[in-house]
């Protein structure tokens, strides 16, 4: 296995790991939204501006979870493609070696067709991998967009929380947890993008 193949396997595997952390955080946001909603309900008029924000936070968390679920499916396809590409590349290299070793064997030329087919299959896998990586990067960009939106919501939440009197601390804690979660999602997804981007540009 070449170093590039190893890095490819590691990159694809690391996406699944990073995304499972994102999923946990997205679920935490969802929980924070439910918590905020309850507090806002108790606060009544004092947290009037906060109430629509809680719905928005919840919606954002649900969308992120859905998006990450789809990305995970895509990452699994990418993993299978990596395995396939590895097998096709191994076959191509072995076939090439067989042709070389066959030298002037009576039927050496009959290996040319399997060799050509193996080369085409290998190249097809490589193209497909790059195409899928580009798609995945697009999906990851969407998650980044959600993370950025969550940070804006967190900032608005802080402002709204400041109007909530005795509920200020509770609602500020919600805003903090949304902001922290948004940071985590941003960082994890950014790591996925960095790991994958070298394959898009190759």
């Amino acid at each position: 296995m070449t170093n590039q193949t190893k890095s490819q396997f590691i990159a694809v595997a690391s996406i699944t790991s990073e995304l499972s952390a994102v999923m946990v955080v997205a679920k935490e946001i969802s929980l924070a939204a439910a918590n905020a909603k309850a507090i806002a309900f108790r606060a009544g008029d004092k947290a009037k501006g906060f109430q629509p924000i809680t719905d928005f936070i919840n919606e954002l968390a649900k969308e992120t979870i859905e998006l990450v679920t789809n990305i995970n499916i895509h990452a699994l396809v990418l993993y299978r493609l990596t395995v396939n590409e590895f097998q096709k590349t191994t076959a191509y290299n072995k076939f090439e070696l067989a042709v070389k070793m066959a030298g002037d064997a009576a039927y050496a030329n009959t290996m040319q067709k399997p060799l050509d087919n193996a080369r085409l299959s290998m190249q097809d896998c490589q193209r497909q991998f790059k195409r899928d990586v580009s798609q995945l990067l697009g999906q990851l960009e969407e998650v980044m967009h959600h993370a950025r939106a969550a940070r804006v919501i967190a900032a608005n939440s802080r402002i709204e929380a400041s109007q909530a009197g005795e509920y200020l601390q509770s609602l500020q804690a919600v805003a903090e947890s949304v902001d922290k979660a948004a940071h985590t999602i941003h960082d994890n997804v950014q790591r996925c993008r960095i790991a994958l981007s070298i394959y898009r540009n190759n």
Binding site: F95, L97, M101, G103, Y107, T110, P114
Partner: protein
């Protein structure tokens, strides 16, 4: 890869082995090819590391599209881990292998090769006008294990039965049975698990007319050495690790 023609008649048997370029840390194996007019059967085609030299060697005897059949005596990697590569090279081939190993052998990523499961009582492989018999050899050493007998060539391919670990430059036939015995003893005692299975197999193959007994490792036995081997194996206690 050394090539030795061991039968030439209406069809041919060729033994491939003693590959001097194989990595030093893998066991040396014998591969056998039965070549008929339009078809070619590879018996225990070998490990993945051996694919390129094996394919190169076979190309001296048959074009790729006439490699139509593979046989795996059992599931071991030195027997058949090259399967995924043969699968990609051959467009019209069948794998004859123990039925009970099918779900396991498919882990070698087969896409095009047709799996022909061999039932426990054996069967036949027909290549043009040649009919080979598949002889049950279960528990010798694998739970699903077969050997191949060619009644015309009088050759019995015996997988790990009769195997010995030899140097790369060892002759292909046993030339001194008494000396050779010591190269086989521990192998058979340790790898073969069942005295009962051994006795049943010996009874079965004593009924066959055998000129050459061809194991997957080490030297082949011919002439009187075939009977010497069966007698020696008959008397040997196996399954010593328990």
């Amino acid at each position: 890869m050394k090539m030795t023609k061991i039968y030439e008649g209406s069809h041919q048997w060729i033994m491939f082995g003693r590959d001097e370029n194989k990595p030093g840390n893998i066991i040396d194996t014998n591969q056998y090819v039965v070549r008929t007019a339009n078809r070619c059967l590879l018996l225990d085609p070998g490990g993945a590391e051996l694919f390129a030299p094996m394919m190169a060697a076979v190309l001296h005897h048959a074009p790729v599209d006439q490699i139509t059949d593979l046989f795996a005596s059992h599931q071991d990697p030195d027997v058949i881990s090259s399967l995924g590569l043969w699968d990609q090279a051959l467009t019209n081939a069948k794998l004859h292998a123990p039925a009970i190993w099918e779900g396991f052998l498919r882990h070698y990523s087969c896409e095009s090769i047709e799996y022909v499961p061999i039932p426990d009582n054996g069967g036949t492989i027909k290549l043009d006008s040649v009919e080979l018999q598949i002889i049950p050899a279960h528990y010798l050493h694998s739970p699903g294990n077969f050997h191949v007998y060619d009644p015309q060539a009088k050759i019995l391919m015996t997988g790990d039965v009769g195997a010995a670990i030899e140097a790369n430059d060892a002759p292909v036939f046993v030339d001194n049975f008494a000396v050779h015995v010591e190269k086989m003893r521990y192998w058979h005692q340790r790898w073969m698990p069942s005295n009962q299975a051994k006795r049943v197999w010996i009874e079965r193959v004593r009924n066959l007319d055998i000129d050459i007994l061809a194991p997957q490792h080490g030297r082949m036995f011919k002439g009187d050495d075939v009977k010497r081997f069966l007698d020696w194996f008959d008397a040997l206690q196996v399954g010593i690790a328990v």
